[in-house]
Structures are given as C-alpha cells and as structure tokens.
C-alpha cells in the first residue's frame, strides 16, 4: 500500500528536501539489490577464498573479505533480499492481521474488543525484543519462527491504531448513511470505514519497517532465525565481531552501514509519506 502511494505520487512524498531525495536514492539502490542482487554481486557470496582471509578493502574486494575469505561486498548486496524481504513480509502480515482484528474490535466493541485488547496488552507487557527471542527459541529457531515472532511483536501497534481509527468513525454521518442504505455491518466496515483507515495505517507500517529490520538483524546477531552461511547483515556483523578487536573493522562496518542506510531511508520515506498524506500536519 505504502509502495503504491509512493509510486503514484513520488514528488508529493519525497518533497523538496535534498535529504528526502537522498533517502529515495538509497531506497532505489536497495530495491535494485533486492531485485537483481545475484547479478550485481561481483563475486559468489558463498565462495571462500582461503588465500584472502580477512583481507582489507581493495580494488578486488571493495568491502574486504571475512574470516573465510568471502567477498563482503557481494554478501552485503545479496543479503538485501532476505533482510528487506523479511522486514516487509513481517510488517505486511502484521498489518493485515492487525487491521482485521482492529477493525472488528473497533466496530463491534463488546467482548471482541475486550479480549483482543487484553491480548495486545499482554504482548506489550514484555520488552518486545525479549519476547521475540522467547518465541523464536520456543518454536525451534528457524527462519519461519523468526517471521512469526516479528509478526506477533508488531501486532499490537497495527491492532491498536486500526481499532482506534475505526472506533472514531463508527458513528460518522457517511457510515450511518451507508448503514441506513441497507448495507450489512461487514460491508459498511469493509467498503466505507476501512478505506479511510488505510492511509494512517500505511504510514505507521512504513515507519515500523526500520524497527523490524533491526529486530531481524538483532535476532540473527545472537544466533536466532538465520544461520551460517546465509548472507544476512546481522549475522555478518556477528561473524565479524570476534575479529574487530584485532582491527578487521570492515567485517562489521559494511553490513552495519547497510542496516543504517536501509532503516534511515525507511524512516525518511515514512515521514515523507505522512507529510504527503496529511499536508495540514506538516511542521
């Protein structure tokens, strides 16, 4: 949804600031890595070169090599597909589930609202990264388990926003009119209320992508979800961790830089999206 709005109204979203254009450029670059990562990578991301272990950045290896002699530049590029794909998938799933539950709770209220509200409260009673850890470990420490954990810890935010936005519109004039016109409750909810809730939810979803990305990287940093030899930014930083004290900064800096740039471009674009959708709130 966010992407659709972005594509249709790039100028409105990106605005005039150079900063936002830089973010859009980074975002485009990342999308290129996601789509054509295998073609863009100059080396095989899995090929270990025993003669060039922990080699510093050079013309042959722009970002240097890791402890096994694999090309970090290629691994950073190829990892974009997993990291960004996972972040988008997790937030999108959470968005859809949160929207469905939140819309039902906000529109019908009563026991649905109370039960779901309690569940959301129970989830946010945990420090969320710690809960994600617990879920991944309990489910068996695979990539799909990581996805479940990310969806669960993001759910309360989408749920609560959808609930409050739907709740506030429940008795507005056009909703009452649609109801009087003979539409069923679900019809009113789906065709008249939900479309009006989507913009706010979309902005929040884009703004949550950065956090989801850091959680993915953080979980794999401590050995959860993704496992070697998969190229993943957090896992790469973790593999470089034991060599940083002896000076091999490149094995941590470049995957870290990819994380920083990706998260920052998500945030700038989310802010731009908000400014484009709600011009009156532009500061």
């Amino acid at each position: 949804m966010g992407l659709f709005l972005l594509a249709r109204n790039t100028r409105g979203v990106v605005g005039e600031s150079r900063f936002a254009w830089a973010a859009a450029a980074v975002f485009a670059l990342l999308l290129a890595c996601v789509a054509f990562g295998d073609l863009l990578a100059p080396h095989d991301p899995f090929a270990a070169d025993g003669t060039a272990r922990l080699a510093a950045p050079s013309m042959a290896h722009w970002f240097g090599t890791d402890a096994l002699g694999r090309d970090i530049f290629s691994r950073v590029i190829v990892a974009a597909r997993f990291d960004l794909g996972m972040a988008v998938l997790a937030v999108a799933l959470s968005f859809v589930i949160g929207l469905a539950f939140g819309a039902l709770a906000g529109y019908f209220g009563r026991w649905i609202d109370r039960v779901l509200g309690r569940v959301a409260d129970a989830i946010t009673a945990f420090p969320l990264f710690v809960l994600a850890m617990g879920i991944v470990v309990a489910l068996g420490n695979g990539v799909s388990d990581m996805l479940v954990a990310l969806v669960v810890i993001d759910l309360p935010f989408h749920y609560r926003l959808a609930r409050s936005e739907v709740h506030a519109r429940r008795h507005l004039g056009y909703v009452e009119a649609a109801r009087l016109g003979g539409n069923s409750a679900l019809d009113v909810l789906w065709s008249h209320i939900v479309p009006n809730v989507l913009p706010a939810m979309g902005v929040q979803a884009v703004l949550r992508l950065g956090g989801a990305l850091f959680n993915i990287a953080g979980l794999s940093f401590i050995g959860l979800g993704v496992h070697a030899p998969a190229p993943e930014w957090g896992l790469m930083a973790s593999e470089g961790a034991s060599h940083i004290a002896s000076g091999a900064w490149w094995s941590v800096v470049f995957p870290g830089l990819a994380l920083v740039l990706a998260a920052a471009s998500f945030n700038v674009l989310g802010d731009g999206l908000r400014a484009g959708l709600y011009p009156q709130r532009r500061a």
Binding site: R118, V119, D121, A122, I123, A125, F126, P127, L128, F129, V130, L131, M133, G134, I135, V137, A138, L139, G140, N141, F214, A217, G218, F221, I222, G223, L224, G234, A237, S238, G240, A241, S242, I244, A245, S246, G247, W249, V252, V253, P255, G256, L259, V260, A263, A264, N267
Partner: protein, 328 residues
C-alpha cells in the same frame, strides 16, 4: 495511598498475560518438548520418561496449574549449560545487569536533560542540530553495530580499554562489590569495563528521551503560565528550570517506560559484545546452546522486571504531578 493500591492492582492483568504467554512458550507450542530436552540421541523410552516427568502427557490446564505452582516455588527449571537452577543463575547475574542499566540510564538522562533544555530555550541552531543529530544517530545505528564500533575505536585503534572478551566472568554487581570490598584493582578494572557498554546503552536511551523532553519543553515554554511568569518579571533562568523544566518532566517520565523496555531488550545484544557478566549475556549464551529453560526464565524475569519498573514510574509520577492521581 489508595492511588498506589489501584496502580498495583492495575498490573494484575499484565502479570496474568505474562504468565500465560511464558507458559505457552515453555510448554504448549508445536514440536515435542520432551524429545527436544532428551536430545537427538535419546531412545523412545527416555523421551516417554521425560514426558511423564514433565507431565507433558497431562492436559493443558493441568500443566498450567503445575507451572503456576512451580513459579510460586521459584522453580524455573534447570539450565542445561550451567547445570544450576535457572533462578539461581539469573539471581547471581541480575545485579551486574542492573548496574549496567542504571549507569546507562544516568548517562542517557544526564545528556538528554541538558540537551532538551538547551535546544528548547532560546532556540540555538547548533544545539538543536546536536540534539537532532545525536538522537538520529542513537536510533539509526543498531546497538550491536555501535558496540562493535566502540570496541574497534577504543580497543583496536587507541588501546585505552581492556579487551572485552578477556574479561573475567565475575558474578554479582562487580563495581559496587569491589568498592565495598575495597579492592581497588578490581574496582578500576570493572569501572573500565562498564564505561563503554553504559555509554552505548545511554546513547540508545538518549534518542527517545531527548526527543520527548525537547517537545515537552517547547510546549511548556509556549504555554500561558510561562507568559505570565515572564510578564511578572521572573528571570529567564528561573522560568526555564523552575517552571518549564518541572512541567516537562512529566512527559519525560512517560517516555521513560518505553526506554526501559528498549534497554532490557538491548542488554541481550550489548552484554555479550562487551563480555559483561549480566543476564543478557547469560540469555545470549543460552540461545546458542538451545537452553530452553534458561531462555524462557530470562524472558519471564525480564517481563516481570519491566512491569515492576513501569509501576515504579507510575508511582513516581504522582510525586511529580498530583494531577496524575485523578487520571483514570
């Protein structure tokens, strides 16, 4: 006082939610917990024996009550890696983590308050930029990457701080204990090892705190009572600290809850990087060893701690602003 009781009672639903979720995480999720605990080489008999021992063959409700009874006795199971009860492991490592968390929070608040005040009072562009810049960096760099960079800069480049991985695994609150024992060598080394991780976590806390305080200060300074105070001829300093800052502290305490959750989660990433012997490093090594009881014990303990800290903040807010007493 009835206010305090109300707030304490208000944590009950969260506590119930936490216990139910940790129960589900530790017992009832797909996958055979008994087979997992027995290990890959175990025979079918051994698995059945473990299943009976853990009462996994009983109904979910029975298991839940059994879990409650165990919790009431402080029984979180045995850690596979240390062979000790998980509760004992956590209790010996928690003081070190609290020490780190407290230092980080002090560092974060110590920077956030002056930054937030300076940036809001006569708006100076460079302070504003510093405030925005530092909070942007604090929230844009993943905490483990920041930690590794600090190690690179201070250890590999300048060599001023000890190599983190060579840290002796001392338990307990290392700084305070060595201070009381008057062991100055140990005290200096533990302070040296505390500096980088608390700076890092402090920067993580700084971003949201400075942003909250900045906004709150601007709102306070724009309000009518400040205009009145100014018209009454009070000095700029007095207005800034005695009137605006005091009113801005309330939103700051509201932001503090989220920051604590952030710090509790980040401990798992920061402590192993710096070799700090706290619960976060314990959980991280338990994850690597698939030590389920230890991980779930850590999750439960952290969540309970989080609820308690939030309760303490709620109660402290009444001291800052009596109006809170009448909210919901």
């Amino acid at each position: 006082m009835p206010f305090v009781w109300k707030r304490i009672l208000g944590t009950v639903p969260s506590l119930i939610g936490i216990v139910v979720i940790t129960f589900l995480l530790s017992r009832a999720l797909p996958g055979d917990a008994a087979a997992h605990l027995a290990g890959s080489a175990a025979s079918a008999d051994a698995i059945a024996q473990i299943r009976a021992q853990l009462e996994l063959d009983k109904s979910l409700i029975d298991q839940f009550f059994r879990y409650l009874v165990d919790l009431a006795h402080g029984d979180l199971g045995l850690s596979l890696t240390t062979g000790q009860p998980v509760l004992h492991d956590l209790a010996t490592r928690l003081p070190a983590s609290l020490e780190l968390g407290a230092c980080a929070l002090l560092f974060g608040l110590g920077l956030a308050v002056p930054l937030g005040v300076l940036a809001a009072s006569p708006p100076e562009p460079w302070v504003d930029a510093l405030c925005r810049g530092s909070s942007a960096v604090g929230s844009a760099v993943p905490v483990f990457v920041g930690g590794l960079l600090l190690i690179y800069v201070f250890h590999a480049l300048f060599g001023v701080l000890p190599r983190p991985s060579s840290a002796p695994a001392v338990m307990g609150s290392t700084v305070v204990d060595s201070l009381f024992a008057r062991e100055w060598v140990a005290f200096r080394s533990s302070v040296g090892r505390l500096v980088l991780p608390s700076m890092l976590l402090g920067l993580l806390a700084l971003a949201p705190l400075a942003r909250t305080l900045h906004g709150a200060m601007q709102r306070a300074l724009g309000s009518d009572f400040i205009r009145t105070a100014r018209a009454g001829g009070l000095g700029a300093r007095k207005i800034l600290y005695a009137y605006a800052l005091r009113n801005a502290l309330l939103p700051l305490t509201q932001g503090l809850g989220g920051v604590l959750g952030l710090l509790l989660g980040a401990g798992v990433l920061v402590e192993p990087v710096f070799g700090w012997p706290g619960v976060g490093a314990y959980a991280a090594s338990a994850v690597l060893a698939s030590d389920h009881a230890a991980v779930q014990g850590f999750v439960l303990m952290t969540a309970l701690l989080y609820v308690l800290l939030n309760l303490a903040i709620e109660i402290a807010r009444v001291a800052l602003d009596p109006r809170v007493r009448f909210e919901g």
